[in-house]
């Protein structure tokens, strides 16, 4: 069995099993670290950088960093909060987000974080990129305008042979998600639901059955993301 160890987050003494990833270890101790690209059960990737914390002078992502004994983590400072806020603002400026009319509104993690950080308008100029909506797949609708390239769908969704349905295409600011047409054509209802549910934003939507949960009864409608 692995050792129990102590570590600190912003001075608060915490305890966890050695080697636990910081994001989870913090949660065990009632400390919320904001995150977007990570969900429980996925291989951590550290893609969005929202969960960045400081260890000494080094920036680290909490979703990928295993906790070691005596670690002293800085999770809350003006610098870190501004960094996280600026990353969220980048996501809004980089894509074309339509919160008021988005199916995901109220269930969207990006929106919920933006609300928590009190973002009204990003500091960066909107780029208004020319992006497509892919509506050719039988069960899924992919709106590239709202995609934040968190890689959740790439990591999670595979067919029964283990082949990936989603993949990246190109690189840098031209990066986008590509859907494998052959696999998408044959995908099960179950896998489609899984894909839709793993998307933190409204970039992957079901072709049927949208707007089933009324506004006002959605996850983040009445409570902040860090209180759940």
């Amino acid at each position: 069995m692995k050792k129990r160890i102590q570590f600190k987050i912003d001075g608060k003494v915490c305890e966890t099993t050695e080697g636990t990833l910081l994001l989870k270890a913090a949660e065990e101790n009632g400390v919320y670290i904001p995150r977007l690209c990570h969900v429980e059960g996925l291989t951590p990737r550290g893609a969005c950088r929202v969960c960045t914390v400081k260890l000494g002078r080094q920036f680290n992502t909490a979703c990928t960093m295993p906790v070691t004994k005596g670690m002293e983590i800085n999770n809350h400072s003006e610098e870190l909060e501004d960094l996280r806020k600026s990353i969220l603002e980048m996501m809004f400026a980089e894509g074309n987000h339509i919160c008021p009319s988005c199916e995901k509104s109220g269930n969207c993690e990006l929106q919920a974080l933006a609300r928590m950080y009190g973002i009204t308008v990003p500091r960066y100029p909107f780029l208004f990129p020319d992006r497509d909506i892919e509506a050719t797949h039988p069960k899924l609708l992919k709106d590239h305008n709202r995609c934040i390239l968190c890689k959740r769908c790439i990591r999670l969704i595979k067919d029964e042979e283990g082949k990936r349905l989603f993949a990246f295409s190109k690189r840098g600011s031209r990066l986008s998600i590509k859907i494998d047409t052959h696999i998408a054509a044959k995908m099960s209802d179950e896998l489609a639901v899984q894909a839709v549910n793993c998307c933190p934003v409204g970039a992957l939507l079901p072709r049927k059955g949208a707007f089933q949960c009324p506004i006002g009864k959605r996850v983040y409608d009445k409570s902040h993301i860090d209180s759940l």
Partner: protein
């Protein structure tokens, strides 16, 4: 693509995902692109989804989903190439070929594409034509070359220049590339006989090798500067029956070309360095990750590997020691600067997109195929041989106490004698400028360490090159007073980072683009003092990126803002009141564009309705 060609290529490779990049490079070379059909076949062969194949394919800029022409011309568009006249060369290409850069001529024969620094900074402007290097291009030569290509003349016959110096004349190289070795030191010296250091290693044992390396305090020469001895020790301490030695020959930092020269002149030294590392850590396999731009060295290097094997320095039972086995092969990249980062390099060698990995675990624990892996720069491995041969004590006498030994510099730009200089650490910038024949009165700035390094002004010329003050992986670009520093250097470098970002981390993917746009706005004369603050503030999130590319991507802007504030100031708008960053003309242009687009779409709809 013809099915026979494709199946022949696929037949060569086992159904292993790690072969994906090799397969794609082969198909690209044979067909000029990777067709949709080829993607399907490759995906079936490797049991991958097509999307998965395509994500590797679209990551590398020498691979393409569309035909790039029978002859593909990649012209270097990096800073020094532009300083040396790339604009006129580019114009001549476009005029002669009859299409723009980024396009293929109507007959599908010649494609024109831009590429980042191809490691020829001391002989710019340079281009790759179907992998063959053409240096010191002029509009005159461009016209000749294009005419030749149009007449289907063999590429080799288009060389009217004599071959370069040294091994560039080797029958398997025959390139017009010049080594321009201007100053030799311990690494480049010719006083060495292959095998001596390796024999010493066998006599004294593995622990001794690591002690010597630690004693010499050799630090990684690629730029990051991690102590080599400690890296080797960490890898040695991990119990595994399969370990790898990678030589990082992905020299992508614009302005660096020293690894190209070492690979050309001292490949046997490098292979011996790899064998020493293998002995020290207990590795049996070695891979040279070579950038695609240096593919012209492939046959030559493969021949050297073969002959070293024959001589008993590589292969099975090296130097007659039973069980000392070490095989080396070459893995080509396909055009991605980020693959110079060690974990991205490993990902790429596994046939994937070159996205850096999160650390820990470090490659010494979990590297190539999750096995313990050492990644060392070409120069680091060559230095190791000399350390073992002459001893750590001797090596420590060179350089400074913190930065021991020597550094091979790639000097280019506005100086009389661009080329390769091996110097001891601790030289200051004054001495280097003098050495390279640059008139200090004519020098505006020096870019030390490439785009990821610092842009320094005259007041900093007494600073020294070492790991504490001005660290460098070898790039040293001299920028004369006649140059437009912001446009031709700083913007060029910022565009470079934006182009080369893998896109995985948000701050790098978006931040580099935001910085580029802002800098462009300032250069165009539409900036205000608030924009300068924005540049500084917007650079901050980049520090949280996973790898060195993102973390240093703002360095050109930050260091030039600090050292050349005046250049930014004179570009700012005069009256700042009520017009913060606003240009009426620019705003009207956007409006015009939108109207035009709208009209076009509207007519499109009408057309569809009919």
């Amino acid at each position: 693509m013809k099915e026979i060609v494709l199946s022949k290529i696929l037949w060569k490779y086992e159904t292993n995902h790690a072969n994906l990049l090799d397969i794609l490079i082969d198909v690209q070379e044979k067909e000029g692109y990777v067709s949709e059909k080829a993607i399907t076949e490759i995906a079936n062969h490797l049991h991958l989804s097509e999307a998965d194949v395509s994500q590797t394919l679209t990551f590398y800029h020498f691979l393409s989903e569309k035909p790039r022409g029978k002859y593909v011309i990649y012209l270097n568009n990096s800073s020094v190439s532009i300083m040396m006249g790339a604009a006129k060369v580019k114009a001549a290409f476009e005029q002669e070929v009859g299409c723009k850069f980024g396009e293929v001529s109507k007959d599908g024969k010649i494609g024109l594409f831009k590429t980042a620094c191809i490691g020829m900074n001391d002989q710019e402007p340079a281009a790759l034509i179907n992998g063959k290097v053409f240096t010191r291009l002029t509009p005159f030569r461009v016209r000749e070359i294009v005419k030749g290509l149009k007449n289907n003349q063999p590429l080799a016959s288009l060389y009217v220049e004599s071959f370069g110096d040294g091994k560039n004349q080797h029958p398997l190289v025959q390139a017009m590339v010049c080594n321009n070795i201007m100053r030799k030191g311990p690494v480049l010296a010719d006083d060495y006989e292959v095998g001596n250091a390796l024999r010493k290693c066998i006599e004294n044992g593995e622990k001794w090798i690591i002690e010597e390396m630690k004693g010499a305090n050799l630090r990684g020469r690629g730029g990051a500067g991690f102590p080599t001895g400690f890296k080797w020790e960490a890898c040695r301490n991990i119990d595994s029956n399969e370990k790898y030695i990678f030589c990082n020959a992905d020299e992508g930092e614009p302005g660096t070309f020293k690894d190209r020269v070492i690979l050309t002149e001292k490949p046997d030294l490098l292979l011996e360095g790899m064998a020493i590392a293998a002995r020290a850590v207990g590795a049996t396999k070695g891979i040279i990750y070579l950038r695609f731009e240096y593919k012209y060295l492939q046959k030559y290097l493969e021949e050297i590997i073969k002959s070293q094997k024959k001589a008993g320095f590589l292969g099975k039972n090296i130097l007659g020691i039973k069980g000392f086995d070490f095989e080396v092969r070459i893995q080509f990249g396909a055009g991605a600067y980020v693959c110079g980062e060690e974990s991205a390099l490993i990902e790429s060698a596994e046939g994937k997109r070159g996205e850096p990995r999160e650390r820990p675990p470090f490659p010494v624990e979990k590297g190539f195929l999750d096995k313990p892996t050492i990644v060392n720069n070409v120069e680091t491995l060559c230095s190791a041989v000399k350390i073992i041969w002459k001893g750590a004590k001797w090596y420590k006498r060179l350089g400074t106490p913190d930065s021991t030994g020597t550094k091979v510099l790639s000097i280019s730009g506005d100086c009389k004698y661009p080329g390769i200089y091996e110097i001891e650490w601790g030289f200051n910038v004054h001495r280097i400028l003098e050495m390279a024949g640059a008139d200090e009165d004519e020098v505006l700035a020096v870019q030390v360490g490439g785009p990821s390094g610092s842009c320094i002004s005259r007041k900093d010329f007494n600073r020294t090159l070492d790991y504490i003050d001005l660290a460098t992986g070898g790039s040293f670009i001299i920028i004369g007073k006649q140059r437009d520093l912001l446009k031709d250097v700083i913007l060029n470098f910022t565009e470079f980072f934006e182009e080369e970002s893998c896109g995985s981390c948000t701050p790098c993917r978006v931040g580099t683009l935001m910085l580029k746009n802002k800098l462009q706005q300032i250069i165009q004369g539409n900036g205000t003092s608030k924009d300068l603050d924005d540049l500084k503030n917007w650079a901050q999130p980049l520090k949280s990126c996973r790898c060195g590319l993102g973390q240093t991507a703002a360095n050109p802007i930050l260091t030039s803002l600090k050292n050349f504030p005046g250049l930014y100031q004179i570009n700012l708008k005069k009256e700042e009141k009520n017009n913060a960053g606003f240009s009426l003309q620019e705003a009207l242009r956007e409006d015009r564009d939108m109207k035009m687009k709208f009209n076009k779409e509207k007519t499109g709809y009408q057309h569809a309705a009919k």
